[in-house]
Symmetry: C2
Subunit: 336 residues, 2 copies
């Protein structure tokens, strides 16, 4: 079905029908000039926004629409998690090619509803417009954090330990797996499935962010959207320190290691330069590793020390196989 058959308002009805109404914090939801939301006393509001363009950030041959809906919000929820905050309310705007099928948008919002339910987040507004160009998704997400407690990129100090949550490299490995279109049987299902999950349905680390904030020993935090190299450089720059990253300590999922062997790739490159893992990377006070790891373990999560902070020149050095390298951001520059 084409959108012109049901009109803009018919489409909005179909979409909003999939979304929950939210809790008491939603005073006025979808349907007026603006949404009205309430935040806990003594808290600040945390706001992040991300724009995704078809053909640049996603392609329909590498991600299905329901996963795309999930991932569109996951990207922003991850930014909120990287502040140690809780996601609360989202607004979503779409620029839609006029010939797009309504079913694609219904699937997209099913994925949005999935992640909203998982993270107790409510869509409170949005805008829908047409475009002569590619499909564009713009998400703005509001969260809340205890006043004065937000975890920034700028607090790393010499002597601190560098850590990352979960495992990294899975999303980039998953994208490569999809794009390679391997013959049947080349990559076992138990290897492929976790990679697909990592690329198409990355789980933002809200709980880890909360543990890090509550621990009181996390000194800086960032989410892994552009690869460890880029994210570590951001912390180094904002904190005015050197980060020393130990390649052998970087936690890789077993499927990532297996797929690297099968495809003849370097797994570490996916972790350093791939991005879209949406884990958290940051620094914590010296001697706090055991306490933090116990806290994470108790909550079914992992936190791995992958290096340390020193007071050299601003930047990141990588130690690997007894050698030391300067690790440049190689961050994603859209216009490069």
């Amino acid at each position: 079905m084409k959108i012109r058959e049901i009109g803009e308002f018919g489409l909005i009805d179909k979409i909003t029908g999939r979304l929950g109404r939210g809790d008491d914090s939603v005073v006025v939801g979808i349907g007026d000039d603006a949404a009205v939301t309430a935040y806990a006393q003594g808290h600040h509001v945390v706001t992040t926004t991300d724009m995704l363009v078809e053909g640049v950030h996603f392609r329909s041959d590498t991600i299905d629409d329901r996963s795309l809906g999930y991932k569109s919000l996951a990207v922003s929820i991850s930014d909120i998690a990287a502040m140690g905050a809780l996601p609360k309310h989202a607004v979503i705007s779409l620029a839609i090619p006029v010939e797009m099928d309504v079913e694609r948008l219904e699937d997209l919002y099913t994925g949005v509803a999935d992640i909203c339910e998982e993270f107790q987040t409510t869509v409170v507004g949005g805008d829908i417009v047409k475009t002569s160009g590619p499909f564009v998704i713009s998400v703005t997400l509001l969260g809340q954090v205890e006043a004065g407690r937000a975890l920034l990129r700028s607090g790393a100090k010499p002597g601190d330990l560098l850590f990352v949550t979960g495992t990294v490299g899975g999303s980039a490995a998953g994208l490569q797996y999809i794009q390679q279109q391997h013959s049947e049987g080349v990559v076992p299902t138990e290897v492929a499935d976790p990679l697909l999950q990592a690329h198409q349905r990355p789980r933002p680390q809200v709980e880890a962010g909360r543990l890090l904030l509550e621990s009181g020993v996390c000194t800086s935090l960032n989410d892994v959207s552009d690869g460890l190299a880029s994210e570590c450089n951001e912390i180094a720059k904002m904190s005015g320190v050197t980060l020393v990253l130990l390649a052998e300590q970087i936690p890789l999922h077993a499927s990532v290691r297996r797929y690297a062997e099968i495809s003849g790739q370097q797994a570490i490159d996916w972790a350093l330069f791939g991005g879209e893992d949406y884990q958290l990377v940051g620094t914590m006070q010296p001697d706090s590793a055991e306490q933090m790891q116990a806290l994470f373990e108790k909550n079914g999560l992992t936190c791995t020390v992958i290096g340390r902070v020193t007071d050299g020149a601003v930047g990141v050095t990588l130690q690997r196989g007894g050698q030391t390298y300067e690790l440049k951001p190689r961050g994603y520059n859209h216009f490069g």
Copy 2:
């Protein structure tokens, strides 16, 4: 200069250099995973979002880039004003065609800085991505309002008076003036200038919205983004009432009347169906017109009674020249 010559980060530096840092309510601004902002105790957060696409919502032959930057935020500030709220913090995302000149974006952000200064609003974040399609601007604006006091579309009651602030029809007349490309001298400057201003630099009615909220007698409110016909129908629908709109009472700027004569158009059509005036239309309790008009006058503003609320079928009737018409929304349906 093309963006690839300075890169994404060079562009961000050029843009952020034009923007103010804001007041104490900005705890963490541009540069981390998310912004952190504080709102006054006892207040709720008001959020609105709008997406503008080149060729659909604006064209470079009808608006210059600095005015476009101003208007991009004016659209959202107007939604905040229509809740009786104060605008505070904005995030702006852009999908940029790779060949776009950096100078266009610098002009755009000069206009953004203009309106931010005028309305004490701070840009606290955003996203910049490339697109193979038209230029897309997505603005999300956060404001604050006293808890439980936001002015909704749903409160109109039979017996209430229908009003509009300022004058309407100027933006549509201005667009027509630009598109007609009249020969020199056909339209005097004193007629043309207010029309151009109305179309390219519409001033959102934040102060009027605050007066309406503080008055305690405003029962519903909406902003005039899609023309009076559409906006009145929204109030009628959300409140479950009939609005009776008196055509002869609708306030038109003298330039709109003059230009209607010159161009052989019906000025009232611009007011009813044109849109983009960003005035406020709403209802107030019976017998409160004098009080409200005095309040507005004291603040150098105007508020005109243009009809009343009755308890008939949900919808809007227009009384004009002794006749009564049913006034359909004719709202802007992008996909119609």
